[in-house]
């Protein structure tokens, strides 16, 4: 308790408290400005971008439940990150070697306005912390797409807290902490293909399997594709912060990440549109929006390691494979991943993670090479990273759901599902019919 109180008190004087931890190096104004702008861009991806993207895809009686879940994830995730999430994910002295950090940086103790000795040494440690915080916020928000239209709000809250603590923080530590076991092994994940997209995608698959199908599944036209298009456009915009911001400096690496991000998304849009056109006769707005997200998710882990040619291949491949997953395989297997969080983010992230091991070139970052540049071992490392995070997220997510289901119940009643979550969970409606 005494430690906790001291931690809270230290919030008032973070700069003084951090002097011992941080190096003496000066921060760069340009890098700091870039990272802070990118932090805001990533925040924008959760609310309003993802909220609108998902919100447009559900029935009108459930639109507020999606918006609310995204909004609350931003608030709760931010508080958890400040309190202990950042420390557990990134502190260099681990509780469990290579697996989870300690609480030295809890409540931002030792995290101040000077640069960190460990990460992003040209920007304030606080800026790096909050940039990473936005990743910790959007990852559980991505999972919302799987349980849309049928989970209790209370169960959603419990899940988001437990999943962040037990799955996101450890996995972020494995991949991005200087102490993490996958980091030390040399796993490449530039902006979160493993930590964000595979992690959330696998959790989404588990969610869909555990919670079961929506009862009133057909017909399911999205209630507002204009919302979805606006959300997808905003996600694309925010993704520049997500990927180019992960260079953690305003430099050529950031420019490379920016260009390949845009290129991969563009290739993915064109491929999805072409597939729609050929296979179901018309190019569709929802198809092109979905393609963009698949391409963006796939380029994320590779954005700081591959060139523009590879980004076209990655975007195109992700689009085609996600198309097959969403249109054919999901239906065959019969799980109800409502808004395709697994089919798009999980599969996209997986493709990008493996592609980084294939296409990484020393021309982008000296010393980092993939299979095509003669380093076959990198692909093997990427496989280990993808497989271990898949396995961990799968088991832990399953356990979390089992506990929530037994204690507070996971799913709304059949009547509540029929009435919609807006009125049954929030006593509000997105749209009034009569003034």
């Amino acid at each position: 308790m005494k430690t906790f109180l001291l931690s809270v008190l230290s919030l008032a004087v973070p700069a003084a408290a951090c002097a011992a931890e941080e190096g003496a190096a000066a921060t760069s104004g340009a890098d700091t400005a870039w990272v802070l702008i990118c932090t805001a861009l990533v925040m924008f991806m959760t609310v309003p971008a993802l909220a609108l993207f998902y919100g447009g895809l559900v029935k009108r009686k459930n639109v507020l439940s999606i918006l609310m879940q995204c909004f609350v994830t931003l608030a709760v995730g931010s508080l958890m990150w400040i309190a202990f999430g950042y420390s557990l994910s990134f502190s260099p002295k681990p509780y469990i070697q290579g697996f989870l950090g300690n609480l030295d940086w809890a409540f931002l103790e030792n995290v101040g306005t000077g640069p960190s000795a460990h990460y992003a040494t040209t920007v304030p440690h606080l800026a790096f912390m909050i940039f990473q915080g936005m990743f910790a916020v959007i990852t559980p928000a991505l999972i919302i797409g799987a349980f849309a239209e049928r989970m209790k709000f209370s169960a959603f809250m419990a899940f988001t807290v437990a999943w962040s603590l037990l799955v996101y923080y450890p996995v972020a530590h494995w991949v991005w902490s200087t102490d993490g076991w996958l980091f030390k092994m040399g796993a490449l994940d530039f902006a979160g293909g493993i930590v964000v997209h595979i992690n959330a995608g696998i959790a989404a698959l588990v969610t869909a399997l555990v919670i079961g199908k929506r009862i009133y599944l057909k017909p399911t036209p999205p209630h507002s594709l204009p919302f979805t298009m606006i959300g997808a456009g905003m996600l694309w915009f925010g993704w520049f912060g997500f990927n180019a911001g992960s260079a953690l400096a305003a430099n050529g690496l950031a420019a490379n990440a920016f260009v390949v991000t845009n290129t991969a998304a563009s290739a993915a849009v064109v491929v999805w549109m072409a597939l729609d056109w050929v296979l179901v006769s018309k190019p569709t707005m929802l198809g092109t929006a979905t393609g963009a997200i698949a391409g963006l998710a796939a380029i994320t882990p590779a954005a700081g390691f591959v060139g523009v040619g590879a980004s076209i291949a990655i975007g195109a491949a992700a689009s085609a494979i996600c198309y097959v997953m969403v249109v054919y395989i999901k239906g065959r297997l019969g799980y109800d991943d409502a808004l395709d969080a697994f089919g798009v983010h999980g599969i996209g992230g997986l493709i990008g993670t493996l592609a980084a091991g294939v296409f990484a070139t020393p021309l982008v970052q000296p010393g980092i090479a993939g299979a095509l540049s003669g380093n076959l071992n990198q692909l093997w490392v990427q496989c280990i990273a993808a497989a271990s995070v898949t396995g961990y997220a799968l088991v832990l997510t399953w356990i979390i759901y089992a506990l929530i289901d037994r204690t507070m119940g996971l799913r709304v009643s059949e009547d509540e599902e029929a009435m919609g979550l807006d009125i049954t969970q929030h006593d509000e409606r997105g749209y009034t019919v009569i003034e």
Binding site: T220, P221, D276, L286
Partner: protein, 113 residues
Amino acid sequence: MKIIIAIIQPHRLEQVKEELYKAEVNLITVSEVLGHGRQMGVTEVYRGNKETGNLLRKIRLEIAVNEGFVEPTIAAILKGAQTGKLGDGKIFVYNLDECVRIRTAERGPEAIG
């Protein structure tokens, strides 16, 4: 007194209104409705999944008229709504037992005019 209910294509509403005004039929109620006839609706595609038999958007007109206006009203609707293609719609004519103008409490043919 008759009530004429017509189901027409949404994009023909403006022409129908114009023809009705020319025929001095000025009182109409318009609603957006869903339905389909022999063409069996439209096919929609969401993320590669086809859904067939979805209801089409249509416009429903309700027009209360006195006897002398029945044929001019039908003629106006036909003139405005007919394209000769499947899906042009239908006109139904019902007997109307009573009509009350709320503002004045007038009843019968006076209330319609």
